[in-house]
């Protein structure tokens, strides 16, 4: 297909072959294309008889693309098959969804490249054995991570398979149930509050038109949607893997769950996590979130969520679970603003902070202090046992707001970013401080 003049002829003579090949390329690029769609594409070409590449583009896009997020991948495949990048797609996909972008930058390859790069000049794993390295790390990363946004992709493969599946099996027993809400739709119920005219009258024919048995209906009660936002920044690293497992369990629990991860940007994982194999789901999650264990921007992430998803209805009446330690690299004022917005939309907000387990915990992290007034519950969830509390907080119909005195956030929260005793020791094996690349300075004997 090097000669343009021949391209046209080939298409004319061998339409099915071209459409099938194009469909296959799209499939490889992550745009699901079925034989049915390929056939429809051929049919559409017959109808439109594209006179220009532009017309061909819109015809193909109208038939083959089923979601706005696929447009980028579609554009690049179209350009590679039918020539130059014309027409420039007129809109920017508004969210970084877990969709592979293009064939040549598939997540796996991307992550391998970047892992290599990170391995060569990795900067967020501080010098091991240094007692103060937590502080150093917390200060050192933002400059690099926020300004350049060093995107690092981490492979979960690094985690021993046995540990992962062991933890998953344990977590599988957890049942995440959310409070219920009443739908408009009704279902049959003998003691329902509403009359079911249809059934009553139908039954009355049997008794010569006298409605003897009254059929009733009751408003259907369904569990509320659960939206989970998990912090996967550097400071959350020891927990993020376990929490991601938790997300997988909860997201797999039904169609009414949504999962996101954030560090410097928000990534939607719902689709990636909703698969039968949790190991694969976590791998996909790692591939989809290139900012794995970089700096945190809770405010930006919350704003992104509110703007793109929450306002449109995802958060409305939903139960929002935020899993984060509340270390905010950006402006805590933004966290407060966005939390307020979120609290107006959501039914309830549960904040899971692994550091809350430490005795004498006070929310001194800038983001946590700013967010606390808008949270309905604050739980620690630092261990598998503690996750039960999380589930309880999620399922509770009513709960009392967290009774924790909000200290004045300190001027330099990073200077006081001391790991708290006991906050991570109860984690299942493999998530503790001893692992090579995880945060140094987390051990109970290493703190100041």
């Amino acid at each position: 297909m090097s000669d343009t003049a021949f391209t046209v002829r080939t298409m004319y003579l061998d339409l099915p072959a071209v459409t099938t090949a194009f469909g296959r390329r799209l499939q490889d690029a992550g745009v699901p294309t079925t034989a049915e769609r390929a056939a429809r594409f051929a049919q559409a070409l017959e109808l439109v008889r594209p006179v220009s590449r532009r017309r061909l583009y819109w015809t193909a896009r109208g038939v083959l693309v089923t979601d706005q997020t696929q447009v980028k991948a579609f554009d690049s495949v179209f350009a590679s098959v039918f020539g130059t990048q014309e027409p420039a797609s007129t809109f920017e996909p508004d969210e970084a969804e877990a969709t592979p972008r293009a064939p040549d930058r598939s997540p796996t390859m991307q992550s391998r490249e970047e892992q290599g790069a990170a391995g060569a000049g990795g900067l967020s794993s501080g010098p091991p054995g240094d007692g103060d390295s937590e502080d150093l790390r917390e200060v050192a990363v933002p400059v690099a991570a926020s300004d350049e946004e060093v995107l690092r992709s981490k492979h979960f493969d690094a985690l021993a398979a046995g540990e992962l599946s062991q933890l998953y099996r344990l977590m599988e027993r957890l049942e995440v149930a959310t409070p219920t809400r009443r739908m408009r739709r009704a279902q049959r119920d003998r003691r329902g509050e509403r009359m079911d005219m249809r059934r009553t009258l139908r039954g009355s024919i049997r008794t010569a038109g006298d409605p003897i048995r009254l059929a009733r209906r009751r408003r259907r009660v369904v569990p509320r949607r659960i939206v989970m936002l998990c912090d996967i920044s550097g400071s959350m690293e020891p927990y993020a893997r376990a929490y991601l497992q938790f997300l997988t369990c909860a997201a797999g629990s039904g169609p009414n769950a949504e999962a996101f991860v954030f560090a410097t940007r928000l990534t939607r994982l719902t689709r990636a996590l909703r698969s039968r194999s949790p190991e694969r789901a976590i791998q996909r999650a790692a591939a989809a979130a290139p900012d794995w264990s970089s700096g945190t921007r809770i405010g930006d992430a919350l704003k992104g969520f509110n703007d793109r998803h929450g306002r449109r209805g995802m958060a409305r009446g939903a139960l929002v679970v935020i899993l984060s330690d509340g270390w905010e690299r950006g402006d805590p004022g933004l966290v407060a603003r966005e939390m307020e917005r979120l609290s107006r939309l959501a039914y309830r907000i549960v904040w899971v902070n692994p550091r809350a387990a430490a005795s004498g915990f006070s929310p001194r992290a800038g983001g946590m202090a700013a967010a606390l007034p808008h949270c309905d519950a604050l739980v620690s969830g630092h261990s598998l046992d503690a996750l039960d509390e999380v589930i309880e907080a999620i399922g509770a119909e009513h709960c009392t707001p967290p009774d924790i005195r909000v200290d004045e956030p300190e001027e330099e929260p990073w200077a006081s970013a001391t790991p708290m005793q006991g906050s991570s020791i109860a984690m299942p094996s493999g998530y503790g401080p001893s692992r090579g690349s995880t945060t140094p300075g987390w051990g109970p004997d290493e703190s100041e």
Binding site: P32, T34, E36, R37, R40, Q43, A44, L47, V48, R54, R55, W58, T59, R61, G62, V63, V65, T66, D67, Q68, V71, T90, F91, M183, R184, R185, M197, R198, L201, S204, I205, A208, G209, R220, P255, N306, D307, R311, R312, G313, M314, R341
Partner: protein, 305 residues
Amino acid sequence: MSPREVTGEAAGEIRHLVPDVETLAQRLASVDYLVDEGLATSMYLSLRLPQPLLLEGEAGVGKTEAGKSLAAVLDTPLIRLQCYDGIDAAEALYEWNYPRQLLSIRLADGSGTKLSEEDLFAPDYLIRRPLLRALEHPGPRPAVLLIDEIDRADDDFEAFLLELLADAAVTIPEIGTIRATHPPAIVLTSNRTRDLHDAVKRRCLYHWIDYPTPQREVEIVRRRVRGASEALAVQVADAVGRIRASDVQKPPGVAEAIDWVAALALLGVEELDEAAVDRTLGSVLKYSEDQELVRAAGLGQLVTR
């Protein structure tokens, strides 16, 4: 041959009305709906293949209007189904006319005639809701069925729509399958509050409507607000573009631009200035936070000279 295929008279009518993409675009323009090539192609394919068209886009970019305009071009009734949480078959498709059934039972009882269940559940006793009305449209041109904001309905309603979308048919247990003689042109809209099921998407053409270019927006606004000066329309399109580019929670759509120009025209404003923006900001920005944000940045920034 797909069951949705239109044959005979109806196909001829449509082919005559919209022989190609350009003609459709022109006809849509003649009813004051301006489309770009992408949307025109999708709408054309949706009519001719024929296949339901799923439109997504930000609020106020003209998704619903696309359905209305298509009905105007085809000169057929627009049958609109507004979806909402908990909508079910009784509200979307059909309901039995219970009072009438009861009356018939009493009547049969009184006159001693025999009444079987089949008599009672006959088409005479059917109350036709939008979906059924669209299927039973007598033609010759197909009706336009607009299923608006399908993402508001719960997901089992989507499953309920599958038969309609794929085969232009619905099944009523008491009567059987009702197949459209003139399959309606179906337009679905969604605001993306949730992902639609793949099964629905598989049966539809998909188009994402983006904000129009400033030039097109000026044209749209001028067509919708008669008597608005070009200068005002250009200024408003420009200001709306700036607001969209800024950090507002709810970027104004084309609908808001039209409302704004209409408001300004009503107030007799010939040219946009800071005072005029200040008085009418409520017709573009519907969140107080957004208004504060724009005010803080300076209303003068929205006014171009």
